[in-house]
C-alpha cells in the first residue's frame, strides 16, 4: 500500500521540487508525509503523556496538600498502601468485578438482541432505534433516572410495576424491592448493562450482517441444525466482533465514574478505582497516594490491553493490507 501511494505522489513531487540530491529529497518527502501527523501527535503527548509522567513522579512522594511542609520522597510506600489499604483493595476488586460483569452481560444480551434483529420482522427499524435509545441518554442523567425514577423503593417504576401487577391479581401486598441499599453493586451493574448493551448489539449486528450467507446456506443444505450453524459458523465469525466490543466497552467501563458517583456515591463497596482516586485527591488531598493508585490502574490496563490489542490488531491487519 505504501508502494501504491508512493507511485501516485512521486510524479507530482518531482515536478514541483526538482532536487539533485536524491537522499535529501527522500528525507524531505518523509517529513512532508509526517507533517500533517505532527500537530495531533505533539498535542496528545503534551496533554496526556506529560501529565502521566508527573503522576508517576508524584506517586513516589508523600504529599498531602493539607500539610505541604511534610512533603518528602516516599519510595514505594504509596504503592504498599494502595495494595494493603482495605478500601483501595476493595476498589481494585470492585473495578474488576464491575468491568467484567458489565462487559460480559452486555455482550451476552447484545448478542441475543443482534440475533433477533438479524431476522426480518415488522417494524425492525423502529425496534432497532428504540434499542439504541439507552446509549443516547447522558450517563449522569441515566444514573439519576435509575436512582430516582426506577429504583426508588417508595415510588420507583420497578416497585410501582410490582404493585400494579399484584393488584391485577387482587393482592394488596406486593413484594417491594430496595436494590439501591440491599444490592447497590447490582444497581450500578444493571444500569451500566442497560446503557452498554445497545453498543454491543450494534457491533454484533454489523458482524452478523457481514456473515457470508453461502456457507450458512450450504450447512443448511447438509441438514445442520440451527444450533450447529450458530455454534460452528456464526459464533466463530462473531468472535472478533465480540472481542472488539469487549475491548472498547472495557476501556470505557474501567473508567466509569458517573454511575458510581450518582447512584451510590461510592458507598457500600461500590467505589471503583476512578471514584476512589477522585475521593483520595479531591477530598482527602492525598496526592501521592492518589497518584500511586492511578499508576496501578494504568499497569492493570496495560496488562489487559496487551492481550486486547493483539485482537484488535488481527482485525486491523486485514484492513490495513489495503
Amino acid at each position: 500500500m505504501t508502494t501504491a501511494t508512493a507511485r501516485i505522489s512521486r510524479p507530482g513531487r518531482n515536478a514541483a521540487t526538482p532536487s539533485r540530491n536524491a537522499r535529501s529529497r527522500e528525507r524531505a518527502l518523509a517529513w512532508a508525509r509526517r507533517a500533517p501527523l505532527l500537530p495531533a501527535l505533539i498535542f496528545l503527548i503534551i496533554v496526556t503523556q506529560l501529565p502521566f509522567v508527573v503522576t508517576l513522579i508524584i506517586s513516589f512522594l508523600n504529599w498531602n496538600s493539607l500539610s505541604p511542609d511534610k512533603t518528602a520522597f516516599a519510595g514505594l510506600e504509596n504503592y504498599a498502601t494502595v495494595l494493603t489499604d482495605p478500601d483501595l483493595r476493595q476498589a481494585i476488586f470492585t473495578t474488576i468485578l464491575l468491568t467484567v460483569s458489565v462487559v460480559l452481560a452486555s455482550l451476552a444480551i447484545g448478542l441475543g438482541l443482534a440475533l433477533l434483529l438479524d431476522k426480518k420482522f415488522i417494524g425492525r427499524g423502529l425496534a432497532r432505534t428504540l434499542l439504541i435509545a439507552p446509549f443516547l441518554v447522558v450517563p449522569v442523567a441515566a444514573a439519576l433516572i435509575w436512582k430516582h425514577a426506577l429504583l426508588n423503593p417508595t415510588y420507583g417504576l420497578i416497585n410501582g410495576t410490582l404493585t400494579w401487577v399484584w393488584s391485577l391479581f387482587g393482592s394488596g401486598t406486593p413484594p417491594q424491592t430496595d436494590i439501591l441499599s440491599q444490592a447497590p453493586m447490582m444497581a450500578v451493574i444493571v444500569s451500566l448493562v442497560w446503557q452498554w448493551t445497545p453498543f454491543m448489539m450494534l457491533i454484533l449486528l454489523a458482524g452478523l450482517q457481514s456473515r457470508p450467507m453461502d456457507t450458512v446456506e450450504a450447512a443448511q443444505m447438509d441438514g445442520a441444525t440451527p444450533w450447529a450453524i450458530f455454534r460452528h459458523l456464526t459464533l466463530p465469525h462473531l468472535r472478533q466482533y465480540m472481542e472488539l466490543g469487549g475491548l472498547l466497552g472495557a476501556i470505557y467501563i474501567v473508567q466509569n465514574f458517573d454511575a458510581v458517583f450518582t447512584l451510590t456515591a461510592g458507598g457500600l463497596g461500590t467505589a471503583n478505582l476512578p471514584y476512589a482516586i477522585y475521593q483520595t485527591f479531591y477530598f482527602a488531598n492525598e496526592y501521592g497516594l492518589a497518584s500511586a493508585a492511578g499508576v496501578v490502574v494504568v499497569i492493570g490496563t496495560i496488562i489487559v490491553a496487551t492481550f486486547a490489542l493483539r485482537t484488535v490488531f488481527s482485525l486491523f491487519k486485514k484492513e490495513a493490507a489495503r
Binding site: A4, I8, S9, G12, R33, L37, P39, A40, L41, L44, V47, Q49, L50, T55, L113, K119, K120, I122, L126, L130, A133, P134, F135, V137, V138, V140, A142, I145, H148, A149, L150, T154, L157, T161, W194, T197, L205, M213, D214, E217, A218, Q220, D222, G223, I229, H232, L244, I251, Q255, F257, P274, I277, Y278, F281, Y282, S291, G294, V298, T301, A305
Partner: protein, 305 residues
C-alpha cells in the same frame, strides 16, 4: 438466495462432519433472513420496549406534576403539564440551567472543531499518504485512550490551579480535545481509507494539486465520515462528568455538573429530575440518531463497517 445454492454441493465435500446433524435434510432454508419471522419479531419488540421503557418513563414523568410522578403504583394516565420544565429552568428557584447548558455547548462544539482540525490531517498521513510504521502510530493513539483519565487528572488539576486555569472553559476544551483526539484519528482514518486509490491516481495523472484533490476527490467520500466523527466527539464531550467536576466550578460548570448538584433530596423532585434529564439528553439523542447509519463504524473506531 436461490442463486447461491448451486455452490452447496461443492461445499458438502469440504465441510466438516460436525455440521451434519443427522440424516434429516431440508430442502428449504430455515434461516433465510429475508423471511418474516414472527417469533423473533415479538421477542425483539418485547425486549426493545423493555430497554426503551426507562427512557419513555423518563419522558412521560417529565410531563407529570410532582404529585403524579411519585405514586405507587405509577399514574401513567395522569394529566400532562409543563410544570417540571418550568421548575428546571428556574421559575421558582431562580437558578437557571442556561449558563451550564451554554458551557456544555461551548466545550463540546469547540473541542469537536479542534479535534477535527488536528485529526483530519493526522488521518490523512495515516491513510492516503501514509507515513512509514503508520500502524505503530495508530496504536500509540489508541493506547493514550486506554490510559484512564484518573491517571492524569491530578497533574492537570494542579497545573490548572497553578496557572489560574481552574474553572476556565478553555482549559476544559483543550482537555476534551485530547480525550477525543485518539478516537477521532481512528475513525477518520477508516473513513479516509475508503477513498479509492484509483481516484487519487486519476487525479494525480490529471495534474490536480493537493488542495484540488482534497476538495474534489477526498472530501465528497469522507464528508459523511467527518460528520459522524464530529457527532460522536460531540456526544463524548457533552456526556463527560469527572473532568468537568474536577476542573470547573461555578463559572465554567457544564450541564452534567449542574445535574449532579441539582437533586436537593428535599420534597418531591422526580418530575423535575426527569425534565432535566430529558433536556440534557436531547442534544445527544439528536446527534446519535443523526449519526445512526455511521454510528457503528464510528464507535468501533472504523473496525466494523
Amino acid at each position: 438466495m436461490s442463486t447461491l445454492t448451486p455452490a452447496a454441493p461443492r461445499r458438502t465435500t469440504t465441510r466438516p462432519a460436525a455440521f451434519i446433524a443427522g440424516p434429516r435434510r431440508r430442502g428449504k432454508s430455515r434461516m433465510d433472513p429475508t423471511r418474516n419471522n414472527t417469533a423473533a419479531g415479538i421477542g425483539a419488540w418485547l425486549l426493545a420496549l423493555l430497554f426503551a421503557a426507562p427512557v419513555m418513563w423518563m419522558i412521560l414523568t417529565s410531563f407529570h406534576s410532582e404529585n403524579d410522578a411519585a405514586t405507587n403504583p405509577p399514574s401513567i394516565a395522569a394529566n400532562l403539564t409543563l410544570d417540571a420544565y418550568r421548575e428546571f429552568f428556574g421559575e421558582t428557584s431562580g437558578v437557571s440551567p442556561w449558563p451550564s447548558l451554554i458551557n456544555s455547548a461551548t466545550a463540546s462544539i469547540l473541542s469537536t472543531i479542534l479535534v477535527l482540525v488536528l485529526a483530519i490531517p493526522a488521518a490523512y498521513a495515516l491513510s492516503i499518504r501514509p507515513v512509514k510504521k503508520w500502524t505503530d502510530v495508530m496504536f500509540f493513539f489508541l493506547s493514550t485512550k486506554m490510559m484512564p483519565v484518573v491517571a492524569a487528572i491530578l497533574p492537570l488539576y494542579l497545573f490548572a490551579r497553578t496557572v489560574g486555569a481552574l474553572d476556565n472553559i478553555w482549559f476544559l476544551i483543550l482537555i476534551y480535545t485530547s480525550m477525543n483526539l485518539p478516537i477521532a484519528v481512528w475513525m477518520m482514518r477508516s473513513f479516509l481509507a475508503e477513498v479509492p486509490v484509483e481516484m487519487l491516481e486519476a487525479a494525480q495523472i490529471d495534474g490536480a494539486g493537493l488542495l484540488l484533490t482534497l476538495r474534489k476527490v477526498v472530501a465528497p467520500v469522507a464528508m459523511p465520515g467527518i460528520a459522524a466523527t464530529a457527532l460522536i466527539c460531540f456526544i463524548f464531550s457533552w456526556n463527560e462528568l469527572l473532568l468537568a467536576r474536577v476542573l470547573t466550578g461555578v463559572v465554567a460548570g457544564t450541564a452534567p455538573v449542574f445535574l449532579t448538584g441539582f437533586v436537593s433530596g428535599q420534597g418531591l423532585f422526580l418530575a423535575k429530575v426527569c425534565a432535566a434529564a430529558v433536556v440534557i439528553s436531547l442534544p445527544v439523542l439528536f446527534a446519535g440518531f443523526a449519526a445512526q447509519d455511521k454510528l457503528v463504524q464510528g464507535l468501533s473506531l472504523g473496525a466494523v463497517k
